[in-house]
Structure formats: C-alpha cells, structure tokens
C-alpha cells in the first residue's frame, strides 16, 4: 500500500528522516516517534502531498501522494484542530460527507459511544475540550474509510485512557482496510509497526 524509497527531507542544508525503504501494508497501524523538530510532521505532510521538498520516492498503491490527496483518499489530522467552532459536533462530523446513509449515521453514533461523545453531539464545538475535538477529527476521518489516515502527534491531547479509546476508533478503519500512520514523541502501546527517528535516520523497531 505505502512504499517509501531512499527518502530524506531536505531542509536548509540538513537532511532529516533518512530511510532507504519503508513498506506498510493495508490495514496496519504504524507509529513514527522521535523528539521535537526531527521532521515527523513534514514526513506526514510529504505522504499527504502538501510538502514536496524531499529526496526519494513516495508511492501509495503505486501512485504519487498528490493523486490520492486530490481524490481525498489520504486524510491528514494535524496538531491544530480543523473544526468549525460555531457549528455543532454532529455538523462537524458530517461536514465532508456528500450524503449520510443510515448505516453511516449508526456507525458514527457507535463511535460516539466509544468516546462518550453521544451526549454532546448537539453542542457547539467551541464549547468542547481539545481531546473531544481530536476525537471528533478522528471519527470524521475514520467514517470516510480513506486509504491512509495520517495523524500528527496522536497523543498530544490524550491521556492513556483516551489514547486507548482513540485506538479503538481507529480499529474500525483498520478493519476496513485503511492504514493509519501516526507520529508521537513517545512510544505508544498497541501499534502494529514502530519506527523511531534516531540521529536523523528512521529505524524500524
């Protein structure tokens, strides 16, 4: 599904995240962890097709990242929440969906239950917590079942309890063939594949 060859982010005469080869299959949960400013976010943005200043090649199902970005088959959840503060939680969830089937609605409600959001679905997003916003974004991405879900700093707003809930939500997408690539500063339990950034190089653990 995802193939990265001879990759390296070029940034002001520095090369970050150097790797010869990374291969991730369908329905995998991958974590890339490392310290601040090691290039984790740029790595995700490169896969998403937003950042192009890199060496090497990124292929998603043998196509360039831009191909899937345009078709909304790769979704990036950045550190800063991309939500409409004046709209309700429900409106934010269904925002990108062209139509809402009964099945989708039921699935969203099920996922709401997992993260205990069912009571605040009609609340405006400006009145919910950061962790709830992050849950909202993850649910919104998961119900679209894209090829790739990219999550920057996945544990940023979550405590260990909420982290387990977030992984439970992601399970739905993984079971349906989506691949999740997340970044973090620390190693988090329950991921399938772990990669660590060490001295500007990516090491598979």
């Amino acid at each position: 599904m995802l193939e990265i060859k001879y990759f390296g982010i070029v940034l002001e005469n520095k090369k970050l995240l150097i790797t010869n080869k990374i291969e991730i299959g369908n329905g995998r949960l991958m974590l890339l962890f490392g310290n601040n400013e090691c290039g984790k976010s740029l790595f995700l943005r490169s896969i998403h097709g937003d950042f192009t200043n890199y060496e090497g090649e990124i292929l998603i199902k043998e196509k360039t990242p831009l191909f899937y970005k345009k078709r909304k088959r790769t979704l990036l959840i950045e550190n800063e929440s991309q939500v409409l503060p004046s709209e309700t939680v429900w409106k934010n969830i269904i925002l990108p969906l062209p139509k809402i089937t009964k099945r989708t609605k039921q699935k969203v409600l099920d996922l709401f239950k997992v993260v205990e959001l069912e009571n605040i679905r009609d609340r405006k997003v400006k009145n919910i917590s950061y962790s709830q916003k992050k849950f909202l974004e993850i649910i919104r991405a998961v119900i679209q079942l894209p090829y790739l879900i990219l999550i920057d700093d996945i544990d940023n707003y979550f405590d260990s309890k909420n982290m387990i809930k977030a992984l439970k939500i992601l399970e739905y997408a993984i079971n349906n063939g989506s691949t999740v690539i997340a970044t973090s500063k620390n190693r988090i339990k329950n991921f399938d594949d772990y990669f660590r950034v060490q001295k500007n190089k990516v090491v598979k653990l």
């Binding site: 345009k70 909304k72 979704l75 990036l76 950045e78 991309q82 939500v83 409409l84 934010n92 925002l95 990108p96 062209p98 974004e137 919104r140 991405a141 679209q144 894209p146």
Partner: protein, 259 residues
C-alpha cells in the same frame, strides 16, 4: 439559501427595481412631452380649398402625422356664429368669404427636427399662398427638454451601472472570501475540492437568473393589471441580465484560485 446570499439577492432586486423605476420615470416624462407636442396642431390657412386638399394629399403619406382636419370656409363661418352666438347676423356673415383652415396633428414621439423640416419645406416650397401658424417656441422648448431628459437618463443609467457593478462584485467577493476558512476546513476534513466551485455557480444562478426572472415577472404582472401604462423595452431587461452575468464573471475572475 444562506443569509449572505439572501442579503445579496435583496440588494440586487432593490437595485433592479430602482433601475426599472428610472426607466419608467423616463418613459413617463418623455410621454408627457410627446403629448404636449401631439396636442399642439399646426394650422394652415388658405383662401383656396383646392390648395388645402392638394396639400392634404401630399402630407397624407407622412407617418409622423397622426391626424389632419380640414375646415372649409362655410364650416368656419358656422363655427364663428355658434361660438359667439351671432345668429342674428347669420345672413351678413354668410355673405363674407372666410378662408379655409387645415389642422395638422403630429405623433409627438416621432416629430423631431428633421420631420418638422420636411413638413415646412413641403408647405413653403409648393404652397406659397398658405399661411402657416404653429407654436415654434413650444416645439423648441419641448425638444430642449427632451434632449436634457435623455442626457440625464443616460448619466443616471451610467451611474447606476457603475455603482451596481462595484457594490455587487464587492459583496460577492467579500462573501466568498469570508468563507475561505470554512472551505479550508471542509477540504482538509475530506470534502470534495470541486464542491466550492459548484457552490459558487449555484449561488450565481440565485444572484443572476432569479432576480431577473422576478423583475420581469413583476413587470408583466404590473402591466397585466394595468398599473403601468408605459412599456419598458425588452432590451433593457436584457442589459440588466447581461450586467448581472458580468458581475458573476468579474467576481469569479477576482476570486481566482480562492475557489
């Protein structure tokens, strides 16, 4: 329909109503001036009835003349007797030879300076024994007023067009730019990139076709129920519609890659 689009719709309809009221006002005033000209006849007097009849034949083909009345000498005498109650001296009056008169009524809207010249040339060149009596000062005053009215009408139309283009384009562009953040979130959350563009054109229909249809239908209703006695030329509605399309085009060009 979103509030912002509804507000723009109201502004556009308001402008179109205002613009059409200017058309109506112009037509009304022009009509008044033309009626003044139509009701003022040119009176020709001649001793010979034949001369008058010959002139009548010549003028008959001119399309800017609405009506010609010929009053023969006997009719003139009868009118004088009736008007001044001179029945007692009817016999004395009937022995007098009165001149024959001809009244020419014009279509005010078609009676311009070239038409006036045609009539006067026909009379003075071929019929020099005819006395011509016409209120030239009134005709000249009406023409001056018509010219001024036309000038004011064009200036006001020009101003309306400029203000309309600037205001509507600004409102549209401002509305779309205000939505930039929404669309950014929409796209980053997985929404289709084409929807914004599609949305722009759907809103454009609301802001061009619908106001024009509304104004056109209102005009027909007002005409049907006889509240309006003047016609507004269809091409003027065409110009209004064209201007709305131009505003849509200008907005699209101004927005560029924002959409």
């Amino acid at each position: 329909m979103k509030k912002g689009i509804f507000f723009q719709f109201i502004v556009i309809v308001f402008f179109l109503i205002l613009w059409n009221l200017i058309h109506v006002g112009y037509e009304f005033q022009k009509n008044q001036y033309h009626n003044t000209l139509s009701s003022e006849p040119m009176i020709l007097v001649s001793q010979k009835l034949q001369t008058i009849q010959r002139l009548n034949k010549e003028l008959d083909s001119l399309d800017f003349i609405s009506n010609i009345l010929i009053e023969s000498d006997t009719l003139v005498a009868q009118k004088i007797i009736k008007k001044y109650s001179l029945k007692g001296i009817q016999n004395i009056l009937s022995s007098f030879k009165f001149p024959n008169a001809m009244k020419i009524y014009f279509h005010g809207q078609r009676y311009g300076s070239s038409e006036k010249q045609i009539v006067e040339n026909k009379i003075t060149k071929n019929f020099n024994n005819i006395i011509l009596n016409y209120n030239h000062t009134l005709w000249k005053n009406v023409q001056t007023k018509l010219d001024f009215l036309k000038y004011v009408y064009y200036v006001v139309n020009g101003l309306i067009v400029i203000i309309f283009i600037i205001l509507s384009t600004f409102l549209r562009v401002h509305y779309e730019i205000r939505l930039n953040k929404f669309w950014e979130i929409y796209r980053s959350s997985g929404g289709s990139a084409k929807i914004r563009n599609k949305n722009f054109w759907i809103n454009s229909i609301w802001l061009s076709f619908i106001p024009c249809i509304f104004i056109f239908a209102t005009y027909f209703a007002v005409r049907y129920f006889k509240y309006l006695h003047f016609e507004i030329s269809y091409w003027k509605f065409g110009v209004e519609f064209g201007l709305l399309l131009l505003i849509v085009l200008l907005s699209r060009i101004t927005l560029g890659k924002n959409l």
